[in-house]
């Protein structure tokens, strides 16, 4: 019921001095129900735009985006978004931030409090319920942002480089937590990242994108690797040292690199637009 389908999706942005920039060129992609798909690619390949279109924050110039069989016409709580810079409301406490979506939905208070308490516990935020975001570290803020998305029980979870702003150590902890959450509570997930490691470790499938124009280069199924390698039982740093993992990583790197080199020199008159954040 919550599969995400991109059908011939094209997105052009008007340039400030006239003309258009082709950000995404005829992308077809199907993400199955409860499948975790990571999208990797260089900046400017349109991966964030793709996610924003699934969220209903941006719309295709041509083609269609369908979630659960229905065309996306705007944002909605059944498609929760975790933003790169967390986007917590600074004037609300941790509890109020996590409960914001429930409040909008009109969930009864007792029920909302129970749900909030559950995710506070799950995300290791106990004792910080009444803190304001600026009083927390980056890692904790991101946990609040993830809890805020999960508490809505969304059919689809859209994550835009959620760990991009974290230091390496926090990042590893958060990756493990996300894997734990995803196993316990599977959702349809689009996970945008430019970190190849992270994509392979987290995803069922990795979509490799190239730029100018933004398009899919290859889609790789990671599930056989994970099952054969027994990754589930291993800590993240060990997984990343296994030969199958490093082999996959260099394969994806080569894909990304080859595409960069075969592109012709870009005329300076056609600057990449800043993707709408």
């Amino acid at each position: 019921m919550s599969e995400i389908v991109f059908e011939g999706v094209t997105r052009r942005f008007p340039l400030p001095r006239g003309g258009e920039f082709l950000a995404i060129d005829r992308i077809d992609l199907r993400i199955e129900e409860k499948e975790f798909v990571a999208i990797v690619g260089p900046s400017g390949c349109g991966k964030t735009t793709l996610m924003r279109m699934a969220a209903g924050l941006d719309f295709p110039t041509d083609g269609r985006v369908l979630v659960g069989g229905k065309e996306v016409t705007g944002p909605g709580p059944e498609r929760a978004v975790v933003f790169q810079q967390f986007a917590l409301l600074p004037w609300k406490t941790v509890r109020q931030n996590i409960g914001f979506g429930l409040m909008c939905k009109g969930t009864p208070k007792a029920q909302a409090d129970a749900a909030i308490a559950h995710y506070v516990e799950l995300m290791g935020l106990a004792g910080h319920e009444d803190s304001f975001p600026h009083q927390l570290s980056g890692g904790m803020q991101q946990r609040v942002a993830i809890a805020r998305a999960y508490v809505m029980q969304p059919a689809a979870l859209l994550m835009d480089e959620p760990f991009g702003a974290l230091d390496a150590q926090t990042r590893i902890v958060m990756q493990e937590e996300l894997v734990r959450l995803a196993r316990r509570n599977p959702r349809t997930v689009i996970f945008i990242t430019h970190a190849v490691d992270e994509a392979i470790y987290l995803a069922d499938r990795v979509v490799v994108m190239g730029r100018k124009p933004g398009r899919i280069i290859e889609t790789i199924d990671i599930r056989p690797l994970r099952e054969d390698g027994g990754w589930e039982a291993m800590p993240v740093e060990e997984v990343m040292d296994t030969p199958s993992f490093t082999h996959m990583r260099s394969r994806i790197w080569k894909l990304l690199k080859a595409r960069e080199q075969e592109r012709p020199a870009v005329p300076a008159s056609n600057p990449a637009p800043v993707p709408a954040k």
Partner: protein, 272 residues
């Protein structure tokens, strides 16, 4: 003033001043000002009825406090002015803040109102006095209009800026969590614009209070401006200056109060 203790102050060459030095310099400034005033008044360059000494003004203040002048004691004039100011300011805030927020939210409104606004704002509050007198005579409407005109613009501008400065990402985040337009306005736009709004309230209160005397030129009854005009009519300079002292002190008090509110919000949201 205990809060001042944890702050530092920059001296003339960027050196940090201690709290004691800060107050010493502040007091020194006032002492110098009163010394020069007393000196000039005592020298006899200007007749005493044109430039009374600080002590004479103080005596007048004490006298005005106990004995009615122009119909009322000093406190009653003060209260009349403050009441008039609060009413005019409240109207300006009540219309200006929502208008500014809506201008920040709806592009179309912005484009309709902004040029009109830019054209009007150079007409100083005092320039509205004749019009206010024609429209309202000596009733309460005249002063309210002038105080309104004085404090309206900063209300609109600060709310507008505040709304435009709210990160689009926060609005999007709220929308993806299912917030309606109304919920976005009350939970994202208004709190996000609040620091700017409070800064604007401070400016608008200051400007509104400054328009007070102008507004009271057309009042028959009570108020600091009215007191001063009556003092001028009686060639009583110390009454005029006593009125000015009241305006200064109350204006300063309003500013200190709103600044404290501003600091509280900034601290709470980690923006200070």
């Amino acid at each position: 003033m205990a809060r001042r203790r944890d702050r530092n102050f920059l001296g003339p060459s960027g050196t940090v001043l201690g709290i004691g030095e800060f107050w010493a310099l502040t007091i020194a400034g006032f002492v110098l000002f009163f010394a020069v005033w007393s000196g000039v008044a005592a020298s006899g360059w200007l007749p005493a009825h044109l430039l009374p000494s600080p002590l004479a003004v103080w005596d007048t203040l004490v006298r005005l406090w106990h004995n009615p002048f122009a119909g009322h004691v000093y406190a009653a004039h003060l209260a009349a002015s403050v009441e008039r100011f609060l009413m005019g300011w409240a109207i300006a805030v009540g219309i200006g803040i929502p208008l500014g927020l809506l201008m920040g939210w709806y592009r179309l409104l912005d484009e309709i109102v902004t040029p009109l606004f830019d054209a009007m704002r150079f007409v100083a509050p005092l320039a509205w006095v004749p019009l206010a007198a024609l429209w309202f005579g000596t009733g309460i409407g005249g002063p309210l209009l002038i105080i309104f005109v004085g404090s309206f613009a900063p209300c609109v501008i600060s709310a507008y800026r505040g709304a435009r400065l709210v990160e689009p990402r926060l609005v999007e985040a709220a929308q993806t969590l299912g917030a309606s337009s109304r919920q976005v306005i009350t939970h994202v736009l208004i709190p996000g614009a609040l620091p700017s709004i409070i800064a604007g309230l401070r400016v608008s209160a200051g400007l509104g209070w400054q328009s007070l005397v102008g507004s009271e030129l057309i009042v028959v009854g009570a108020g600091l401006g009215y007191l001063m005009v009556q003092g001028q009519g009686n060639l009583n300079t110390s009454v005029v200056i006593a009125g000015m002292v009241g305006i200064g002190v109350v204006g300063f008090a309003i500013d200190v109060l709103l600044r404290a509110v501003e600091q509280t919000f900034k601290r709470r949201w980690g923006q200070g």
